[in-house]
């Protein structure tokens, strides 16, 4: 028996605008609302509405035998709510079928687990509340931003009461073992680790339209045959991918929608096959072995590590500057300031500062709203500097500045690489 577990990731960041050093102290329009709206408008038409409709039809057509799971970030939900409420409704309609499950994650698609466990927990809880509110579901399976994972996270998530967690089935983690089983992690014996079958996932997500790929064009029959071949060698195939694979990364003219529409029928032809959601997968299959991931693994780039977000000193400096501000921001108890700070925790901001793509191809460039990673860094730091001044002004007004920073301070004119220095400087 082979169970197929489809999991789709749904996310768009709040992109920053071109915020110059000369803007510091002058205005607070950090986010490029025009561009963000344009992107939501584009992907909604090309991907979300269309694919949601197809999934709905497939669920009805196969009498509930076709199932999928989603992780939807708070970042994109906020933008749907503002710019495209009909997309929220189409997800609600999917939720109501009972065949669609929503995962847990950080509300802002952040790297909080790496920098602040408190913030991490708060964002996970915020996201849980949002899922309950929108879809009437309480997630029991967790996926961290970009499938970033290690033993410590597995333990932490287990202690938070989740039954399963998703991770990349990277070669160097599996050491020749199959991703098509359920694992647990070192020091996290109870939690079930579902590993992405990256070969079969990326055949669709990345290679589907690649004319240089020897399997191109990929027919549904061929693909299902590959899945059928797993029978005996595994019990669960985890196909994890970005939802925008459908219609955005792979355009409609590649035949991707046709592929999706035919896949469930073809797969269910084999009586031993079925579809499961993430929690069903976790409940259905026992833990077969243990993975040991001391260092962080992710689903990004060839390295499958966190170098796409924290690989260079600029990214590290920016992340440090952001999280060093946390206690000051939270001390304001100002909902708007905290929400803005959280938007800045979205990992995409750091991704735009990655310089790896200069040599490693153009995936990063495709997603980068800036001319260069250096520009991305400059804009981000400019925003943090302005933001820190606002937070400081707020704390001063509340008479809290001395308590928080431990010393009195005058408003400095200087621009800081670590704007939290503003609080003590």
């Amino acid at each position: 028996m082979v169970s197929v577990c489809f999991y789709f990731h749904v996310h768009q960041p709040h992109r920053l605008g071109h915020y110059s050093i000369f803007d510091i102290g002058n205005h607070t329009d950090y986010f490029d609302e025009h561009k963000n709206r344009q992107i939501i408008d584009k992907v909604k038409e090309k991907c979300y509405l269309k694919t949601n409709n197809i999934l709905y039809r497939l669920i009805k057509q196969h009498d509930g035998k076709f199932k999928v799971s989603f992780s939807i970030t708070g970042s994109i939900i906020e933008q749907f709510e503002r710019f495209a409420p009909e997309v929220i409704d189409s997800f609600k309609r999917l939720a109501d079928t009972g065949c669609v499950e929503f995962l847990s994650e950080t509300y802002n698609h952040s790297l909080a687990f790496l920098f602040s466990k408190d913030e991490f927990k708060e964002q996970v809880l915020m996201h849980r509340r949002k899922m309950q509110e929108l879809f009437n579901q309480t997630p029991t399976v967790f996926r961290n931003t970009e499938l970033i994972f290690n033993n410590e996270l597995a333990r932490y998530i287990q202690d938070m009461g989740f039954e399963a967690i998703l991770a990349e089935g990277a070669d160097y983690i599996l050491n020749g073992r199959s991703p098509n089983h359920v694992y647990n992690a070192v020091n996290a014996e109870k939690i079930k680790v579902l590993l992405k079958n990256y070969k079969l996932s990326d055949d669709v997500a990345f290679r589907f339209s690649d004319k240089n790929w020897q399997e191109h064009p990929l027919s549904v029959e061929k693909y299902v045959q590959w899945i059928n071949q797993i029978n005996g060698g595994g019990e669960l195939v985890n196909l994890f991918m970005d939802y925008e694979t459908f219609g955005e990364h792979q355009w409609e003219d590649t035949g991707i929608f046709n592929f999706l529409e035919l896949l469930p029928g073809e797969l269910l032809k084999h009586p031993d096959n079925n579809f499961v959601t993430v929690s069903e997968a976790a409940r259905k299959y026992p833990i077969r072995d243990t993975v040991d991931m001391h260092n962080f693994v992710s689903w990004a780039d060839l390295e499958r590590d966190i170098s796409a977000w924290l690989g260079n000193p600029l990214q590290q400096a920016a992340a440090r500057a952001l999280y060093d501000m946390e206690k000051y921001v939270k001390a304001t108890n100002n909902y708007q300031l905290i929400a803005t700070w959280r938007k800045l925790t979205t990992s995409d901001h750091l991704y735009y500062m990655c310089t790896k793509w200069f040599s490693d191809g153009d995936v990063h460039k495709y997603f980068n709203p800036y001319d260069s990673p250096y520009d991305a860094y400059i804009m981000y730091m400019n925003v943090l500097n302005d933001f820190a001044r606002r937070v400081k002004a707020e704390l001063k007004e509340l008479g809290l500045l001395q308590i928080v920073s431990g010393e009195g301070a005058a408003l400095p004119e200087k621009i800081h690489e670590n704007p939290s220095l503003i609080f003590s400087g």
Partner: protein, 422 residues
């Protein structure tokens, strides 16, 4: 190879390019006879010395076998042709020579042409006569002053002709107009060439657009980095105790955008008063720039150096905290490589050819003074950014070796030789 300048004497980057490219080609086993117009004898004393005392590469020898012996021969033809010659500048030089009382200083034979056009065609005839004694496979001519010579040589020998375009007449005027006579010489060269090498896509687009050159015979070969003396360091302590240093280094002409630099400086100084701006280089806009800084009330934060030599360039680049190249039009623009090798982060205009190949730099539109100023301020304010660009920029420039363009040239040689001249 036909060129108009060869180090140590040069007026722009093309001489350095010729020398560095030649060296890299020599290393690949290509023999080169470098023919160029030579001016007053004394100017070349130093060159002669350098070439004759160098041990291997720069021996003055007649090359005769293709791809076999590593030899470079420099042939001089007495001429007062000059790198950035214009009709006016040629007239001036011609007068100077004619009126000179020191007959030894300017050897009188052969007679120089009466004007620029006559002179380049006279040079062409001379090249033809001289090259008839040589054995070679490919004519490789650098920039318009050598094109008539290349055409004459091609006609005489039937050898394939490659022209190497470092700059066009349009670039010198900021892209708007061209001297019709020079334009004609350039165009004839492009039409007659078997292959055209341009130093950037920008130049390629320019010659397709403005000269109607056949795009299929154009190959872009980006320049590489000039070797620098990394030993030379200058700390400029007197300035650095209080200030950070921002540097512009190049000819102070319309093409290089010095006025945008001055305007950006004004904006930077409003936020970061402890900044000193150096405007290094000679040029027809120098006085205007001095007046402009005074008018803006920032004259005291400016240092004007006028002409600087190589050693001074090394010092300038090593003492600067930020290098800015706001060129309006820059066919390639090798200077940012020099700054990066001297561990100074760079800000360059998107309108430069080098921006096609440089990544570890900050790119701006030359006309966007706010953008230039904000990038300068970012480099002065964010140490991690400064460090990262210094570090990555250094390796980027170090890895841009002349071996890469030389290999491309060699491929082109092989291709045209296989085809034969057309």
């Amino acid at each position: 190879m036909l060129g108009w300048e060869f180090p140590p004497f040069f007026a722009g980057g093309a001489g350095i390019v010729c020398s560095a490219l030649s060296e890299a080609l020599l290393a690949k086993g290509v023999s080169i006879t470098f023919v160029m117009p030579s001016g007053p004898e004394e100017v070349y004393d130093g060159l002669d010395k350098k070439l004759s005392t160098s041990k291997s590469k720069f021996k003055i020898l007649i090359a005769n076998n293709k791809y076999r012996n590593v030899k470079l021969t420099v042939k001089k033809i007495d001429s007062i042709l000059h790198a950035y010659a214009t009709n006016e500048s040629y007239d001036k030089a011609y007068k100077e020579v004619s009126l000179s009382s020191d007959k030894n200083k300017y050897r009188g034979t052969p007679l120089y042409g009466k004007n620029l056009k006559q002179e380049i065609y006279r040079f062409a005839e001379q090249v033809k006569l001289l090259a008839m004694e040589e054995e070679f496979d490919v004519i490789h001519a650098h920039d318009w002053v050598t094109f008539p010579a290349a055409i004459a040589l091609k006609k005489e020998t039937g050898k394939p002709m490659i022209i190497h375009v470092h700059i066009t007449e349009f670039d010198k005027s900021g892209g708007l107009h061209a001297d019709p006579e020079i334009y004609k010489v350039e165009k004839e060269g492009m039409d007659a060439a078997d292959k055209i090498i341009t130093v950037s896509n920008k130049v390629k687009d320019m010659i397709v657009d403005k000269y109607y050159a056949d795009p299929s015979k154009i190959i872009v070969v980006h320049n590489a980095a000039t070797p620098m003396n990394e030993e030379i360091e200058y700390r400029a302590e007197a300035i650095k105790t209080t200030d950070k240093i921002v540097l512009f280094a190049g000819r102070v002409t319309l093409q290089k955008g010095p006025d945008y630099y001055v305007e950006a400086a004004k904006k930077v100084l409003e936020k970061a008063p402890n900044t000193t701006f150096i405007l290094a280089g000679p040029g027809d806009m120098l006085h205007k720039m001095m007046e402009k800084t005074a008018a803006l009330g920032i004259g005291h934060k400016f240092i004007f150096t006028g002409f600087f030599n190589r050693e001074q360039a090394e010092k300038l680049f090593s003492m600067a905290d930020v290098f800015v190249m706001p060129s309006v039009s820059e066919p390639f623009g090798v200077v940012p490589y020099e700054a990066q090798i001297k561990k100074t982060p760079t800000i360059i205009s998107k309108q430069s050819g080098i921006s096609e190949v440089l990544y570890h730099t900050l790119k701006v539109d030359f006309w966007d003074v706010n953008q230039i100023a904000s990038r300068i301020l970012a480099l002065l304010s964010y140490p991690s950014l400064h460090q990262e660009l210094t570090h990555k920029g250094y390796y980027e420039a170090k890895n841009a070796t002349w071996d890469i363009p030389a290999a491309k040239c060699l491929n082109i040689y092989d291709e045209v030789v296989a085809k034969g001249g057309q």
